[in-house]
């Protein structure tokens, strides 16, 4: 699903240059649930941003679902993001003046799907995350866990190839975190490829594979015995 070869990225900080990614090589197969771990500054977020086409690498190849991702202009990147990727953010990033349903149907709007169809589909995804009854509520009326579930529903709505989650549990307490991880695991079990950036080990252990980044290189890449979040959730 994802092939990355010799990825380099550095940021220009005034006169000095900060080399963040120093040759990343890794592949993700379809249906994997990968945790990308590392301390802050290890380059995990930068990697995710490049994977999410929000940022570009200076060097290296990135192939997503057999499509080489290069020479992107903003319009093309937007189209690819819409087609291939679903994003889940630490701070949910729901649009606060739109209801849960409207938030979920937003990527479908940008796909040009007609209104009725879009709303039905969005409602289906809300049902999937267990928030059908909250469809008409604004984000401000939802709890943190509910917001993240809406965000996950939104990320799934565009039927992406890959779900990218940047610290999806970073703003949630432990119980809620496990609920969200339970949802992510269920989605993964349905076959969706998911990458989760986290610095929490317990969250990482709920994935099938852990990639450890340090100072811009992968220092460890291992399959793990998946801990099921459902065992923590009543």
């Amino acid at each position: 699903m994802i092939q990355i070869k010799n990825l380099h990225k550095s940021y220009q900080m005034g006169s000095s240059s900060l080399h963040v990614l120093k040759g990343i090589n890794f592949n993700v197969e379809e249906g994997e649930l990968v945790a990308i771990m590392g301390s802050s500054g290890s380059g995990k977020s930068t990697l995710l941003n490049i994977l999410g086409m929000l940022d570009t690498a200076e060097e290296g190849d990135y192939i997503l679902d057999d499509v080489p991702i290069k020479d992107l202009n903003e319009t093309k990147a937007a189209k690819y993001r819409n087609k291939f990727l679903g994003f889940v953010f630490q701070s949910f990033n729901l649009i606060n003046y739109k209801t849960a349903l409207e938030n979920v149907s937003l990527p479908l709007y940008y796909q040009g799907i007609p209104r009725k169809e879009r709303q039905q589909e969005a409602l289906d995804y809300l049902e999937k995350v267990g928030l059908k009854d909250w469809a008409t509520h604004l984000p401000s009326e939802l709890s943190g866990g509910q917001k993240q579930r809406v965000a996950i529903a939104r990320a799934l709505a565009s039927k992406p190839k890959v779900l990218l989650a940047d610290e999806p549990t970073g703003a949630l307490d432990t119980t809620t975190s496990y609920e969200v991880m339970d949802l992510i695991q269920k989605i993964n079990q349905e076959g969706k490829t998911i990458l989760v950036v986290t610095h929490e080990l317990d969250i990482a252990q709920m994935c099938k594979r852990i990639v450890l980044l340090k100072d811009g290189v992968i220092i460890e890449d291992k399959k793990v015995e998946q801990v099921f979040a459902s065992s923590y959730v009543q």
Binding site: F89, N93, Y109, Q111
Partner: protein, 424 residues
């Protein structure tokens, strides 16, 4: 998505409506800025048009390029005559003027009783009587100053002049004062200075046309001449120049010609008096044109100020919404879609404000109109704004709205989604 589809897409408007209704107070205040601009524009240009119409109404019953010329006393001794000689205009002057000055289209000599000093003749019918001003007129007079005659009547014609008929055209007031309410005055007789005259018409009085009134009686010039023994004397000429002629020059030429006939010094400015309606009309027209231009400039300047306000607000709004726009971009909004949305927000606000302003302006104009509709002495009639002006203003607003929307739109697009998302 092509741009036309975007504009007619219900979802586009839902997006726009969603984002501008997010901050209602700010939206309303912004809208008021443009609304005020277009309101000022509509109210001012409507008022200017009303003034314009009002002036036109004041002049509607008389040719715009006409003048009155009368004789006075000389102020310079000339050709053996001493200073202060009284001069009288003669009927024979007409041919001379017509010959010498081709710009003159019509020239109507007039005599009157009771207008400039003197006693108005006593007019009697049965047991009713009153004093009215009496004019001796040629049919040509109606070509210079329109006389509206009520149905069934007519003005003086050539036959009346030729046969010196004793016929008269009476005023509305004369009719109400001398006749019964349900009586038709046409064909009836009235006695003017003890001579019977048959009434041939009743003229409708149009206010604002100089010294005439609703009681005036017009009789054939020749009849007047015989009745009052005026001979060749003419009290004044009413002259209309051709439409393309310079009325001021014509007045000067006429006076020069008259000076020659009556042997008056060419330098004598006082021998002949004149009242040039055309000159005054031109000044009034110039004034109202100036008013229209002023209102146009002020209105458009105010609109521009309002639209700039919208641009300003949207710029702030884009700054506030950086994160939201980043999320939209992450979800697959192309820069074009984001740009379109911001521009359409700007245009939408501008147009809504514009339409509200036009409606409000129209209401105010209607109010002014109904308040002044019966004020005949106030030069203000039917204040309207021509549709092309309104459409033009709307077009300008859409154009400016787009233009000003480009600034925040470009700002919104120039922020990279990754930076937008990172912003807290």
């Amino acid at each position: 998505m092509n741009s036309l589809k975007v504009i007619f897409d219900r979802d586009t408007w839902q997006e726009i409506f969603g984002s501008i209704s997010k901050n209602k107070t700010r939206t309303i205040i912004t809208v008021i800025g443009v609304l005020w601009g277009i309101f000022i524009y509509i109210a001012l240009s409507g008022a200017a048009k009303g003034l314009d119409n009002g002036f036109e109404r004041q002049f509607e019953n008389i040719a715009m390029n006409s003048m009155f010329i009368w004789a006075q006393r000389t102020s310079i001794p000339f050709d053996g005559f001493k200073i202060g000689r009284s001069i009288e205009l003669k009927l024979s002057d007409i041919d001379y003027i017509k010959q010498r000055i081709p710009e003159v289209e019509f020239i109507a000599p007039r005599n009157a009783r009771g207008v400039f000093g003197g006693v108005s003749p006593l007019v009697v019918r049965n047991n009713k009587s009153s004093n009215y001003n009496v004019y001796g007129d040629f049919p040509e007079y109606t070509k210079i100053a329109t006389k509206k005659i009520y149905d069934g009547g007519r003005f003086i014609n050539e036959e009346d002049i030729r046969y010196r008929r004793k016929v008269c055209v009476i005023g509305e007031r004369t009719q109400t004062e001398l006749f019964e309410e349900d009586e038709n005055p046409i064909g009836q007789y009235v006695k003017i200075d003890n001579i019977y005259f048959q009434v041939i018409g009743v003229h409708k009085f149009v206010p604002g046309g100089g010294f005439e009134s609703d009681g005036d009686i017009f009789i054939p010039f020749e009849t007047f001449r015989q009745l009052y023994n005026t001979g060749e004397t003419v009290q004044w000429f009413t002259i209309a120049a051709y439409d393309d002629a310079d009325v001021v020059a014509v007045e000067k030429d006429v006076k020069t010609a008259l000076k020659r006939i009556h042997r008056v010094s060419p330098k004598d400015e006082r021998a002949f008096g004149g009242f040039n309606l055309g000159e005054i009309f031109n000044k009034v027209v110039g004034f109202s044109k100036g008013m229209t231009l002023l209102s146009l400039i002020v209105g458009i300047a105010t609109i521009i100020a309002g639209v700039i306000g919208i641009g300003n607000i949207l710029l702030i709004s884009v700054k506030e919404r950086t994160k939201e726009l980043g999320v939209r971009r992450a979800l697959g909004a192309t820069p074009g879609e984001v740009r379109n949305q911001i521009i359409l927000e700007s245009v939408f606000l501008t147009v809504i404000a514009g339409i509200l302003g036009i409606v409000l302006g129209a209401i105010v104009l209607a109010g002014i109109n109904s308040a002044t509709v019966n004020m005949t002495d106030f030069p203000y009639t039917n204040p309207t704004v021509p549709i092309p002006f309104v459409l033009g203003a709307l077009f300008i607003m859409v154009f400016l709205g787009t233009l000003i929307g480009l600034i925040p739109a470009q700002r919104a697009v120039s922020i990279k989604p990754i930076d937008a998302l990172r912003e807290e």
